[in-house]
């Protein structure tokens, strides 16, 4: 989780990532940030995030991102 937080802070600083639960729905992260985030997550965790995974339910909070990463690592 801390790795994801540090990636997010690098991409878009100034957001309380540990407590924010509506990163997408609350428009805290825009599509450009998501494009960067996907590239960084794939690089960091050696996963492939297919387009179909890009839904608010996977990116609204750090926990959801961590769960997605874990699931994709297992696949």
């Amino acid at each position: 989780m801390s790795k994801i937080v540090s990636i997010l802070e690098d991409i878009k600083p100034g957001i309380d990532y540990e407590n924010c639960k509506d990163l997408i729905d609350g428009h805290h992260l825009d599509s450009l940030s998501i494009i960067s985030l996907i590239a960084e997550l794939e690089d960091e965790f050696d996963i492939t995030i297919p387009a179909v995974e890009i839904v608010p339910g996977n990116f609204n909070s750090v926990e959801q991102m961590a769960a997605m990463v874990e699931r994709l690592q297992e696949e």
Partner: protein
């Protein structure tokens, strides 16, 4: 016997408009009555039969394309399912170190199946819709280079709604490929999902997960659904018959003979066309969603008050939502998440920063989205220009966003204040109107000529009263038509404001006493009957989006 006349094939083309007497006084009531009479377990078959009768009546033998699409969806879905099942069973017995390679092999096979499906479905669409455009442009090129060859420009009949049901069929195949849905073995369910009669003419472009099960499990008609559905339908009728169709002859006159009018009248024509298009398309969507609701089906919304948007980017999240979502899910994201694009994003981010880095990769995907969006609307250069116009606006909006934020910060401008938001909404609407001018123009050249005349002649003729009177006289209209349009627009605008504030007018109305409810209901009907643009002096106007 010729097939074209068999059992009324193609004999009711007018039914593509949801507001003709044949459709709403004959077809829909017959459909509702027969649906009510058949036993519950047969209701789905009645809906399917009604949908195919509808398509047969409006399209005749072109129904073959709908049938082909349905069968193709079934086959490709099952083929993908077979490969996926085989992949799972193989992976379960494959050693861990070989799993990645094995999976890759099966994914490659699935991609080939998807590619074949795209080739077939999009190929048919391209062939029928764009071959004339392509060959006529090739002929222009030949003439330009003085090559003495002239290709015959083909002319194919375009099945009603093919641009819509092709995207819907493709979304099903993509979703099966991605594992979002399971492949369906029931051809009846797939046929109803693709061919449901109100939705097939101009959308909304539904996903299998949104409507397939609902349609197949549709139950008895409930009183609340019936009344809510009819109310929604009538609201659509108000938009289409009282506003859109009343403006139609004025718009045609201005766009066809723009060189006879001043810049102010051309600007007015562009505004009128934007209103006409919005009222026509969103009114038709109200009809589709309303009719579906009668049967208890919830269709996805296609409009969310687009003229309250603060940017062009937001506008397209509120206008023709299902097309935007389709392009985003099946073109934008697959491109930005492609291997090379992700590498480009990561490298560019390190070189040019967090904002412009991803913007570079995003802009390539955005270009593809808007090229497809423009081309989807029609086979003409002005549609492609329309797409590129919005691509440039969205891209530049993204590019200058940090600078705008910085200026606002330094000048202590509150970007959430009412006046700032209003300014953004007006700016967005003006940009949309300019885009619609090119969209509606009779060719790209005329679009530029109109735009040039509008820009150079707008200030001296901003309120060209005489020009407006001339347009009204030529079209057999008068100031009363404009007053009716204005009053109805105010009413629609008031409903939009309430909706924007999260207040549902229909829910509020449902809480009132029965007398008030029925009074509003009848008032709406009487208003449409008195002020609707139909009968003598009016030609029935087909839904504008049905031609796309």
């Amino acid at each position: 016997m010729q097939l074209s006349g068999f059992l009324g094939a193609g004999s009711a083309m007018s039914m593509t408009s949801f507001f003709t007497l044949t459709f709403f006084m004959v077809f829909v009531p017959l459909c509702v009555i027969s649906y009510t009479l058949v036993p519950n377990k047969l209701k789905k078959y009645q809906l399917l039969l009604a949908s195919y009768i509808f398509y047969w009546l409006v399209s005749g033998e072109l129904i073959i394309y709908l049938l082909l699409s349905t069968v193709s969806m079934l086959c490709f879905g099952l083929w993908l399912d077979r490969v996926q099942t085989k992949m799972k069973s193989t992976l379960s017995v494959t050693p861990k170190e070989e799993k990645k390679e094995t999976k890759k092999r099966y994914i490659k096979k699935q991609r080939l199946i998807v590619l074949l499906a795209v080739f077939l479905h999009i190929g048919i669409l391209l062939f029928l819709k764009y071959s004339a455009f392509f060959t006529s442009n090739v002929n222009i090129l030949f003439a330009f280079f003085k090559i003495p060859v002239a290709l015959t420009v083909p002319k194919y009949l375009l099945p009603i709604g093919i641009s819509f049901f092709t995207l819907q069929a493709m979304s099903y195949i993509f979703d099966v490929y991605h594992g979002v849905i399971k492949a369906d073995r029931n051809i009846g369910r797939l046929a109803l999902f693709l061919g449901f009669f109100p939705q097939i003419v101009e959308g909304p472009i539904c996903r299998y997960s949104q409507t397939a099960e609902q349609l197949w499990n549709a139950g008895p008609i409930k009183y609340e659904n019936l009344t809510f559905g009819i109310q929604r339908y009538l609201f659509g009728m108000l938009k289409k018959l009282v506003i859109a169709d009343r403006l139609s002859p004025i718009v045609i006159e201005i766009f066809d003979k723009y060189n006879e009018f001043s810049g102010g009248i051309i600007a007015l024509g562009a505004v009128f066309y934007t209103i006409q298009l919005y009222m026509d398309f969103s009114g038709s969507m109200d009809a589709v969603i309303g009719i579906a609701q009668i049967f208890g089906i919830r269709m996805p919304e296609n409009f969310e008050r687009p003229f309250f948007s603060r940017s062009i980017s937001e506008f397209w999240k509120r206008w023709h939502i299902t097309l935007g979502a389709w392009l985003k899910d099946y073109i934008f994201y697959p491109i930005v998440t492609a291997g090379k694009m992700k590498k480009l994003t990561a490298a560019a981010r390190k070189k040019i920063g967090n904002h412009f880095g991803p913007l570079l990769a995003g802009s390539i995907a955005l270009f593809c989205v808007w090229f497809c969006n423009g081309l989807w609307h029609g086979s003409a250069w002005n549609f492609i220009f329309f797409g590129m116009y919005h691509f440039v606006l969205i891209l530049s909006g993204n590019a200058i966003a940090p600078a705008v934020n910085s200026i606002n910060h330094h000048l202590h401008i509150n970007a959430d204040s009412f006046w700032y938001r209003l300014m953004q909404m007006v700016r967005t609407s003006v940009l949309v109107v300019i885009g619609e001018l090119f969209f509606r123009a009779n060719g790209l050249r005329n679009g530029f000529l109109m735009f040039g005349k509008m820009v150079t002649g707008l200030v001296p003729n901003l309120f060209d009263r005489q020009g407006l009177i001339n347009v009204l006289i030529r079209t057999g209209r008068n100031s009363l038509d404009l007053i009716i349009v204005a009053v109805t627009l105010v009413a629609v605008f008031a409903v939009s404001i309430l909706n924007e504030k999260g207040i549902s007018v229909r829910d509020e109305l449902a809480k009132r006493k029965i007398l008030i409810r029925w009074a509003v209901f009848y008032l709406l009907i009487v208003y449409i009957v008195i002020f609707g643009a139909y009968g003598a002096g009016y030609k029935p106007i087909d839904p504008l989006y049905a031609q796309f």
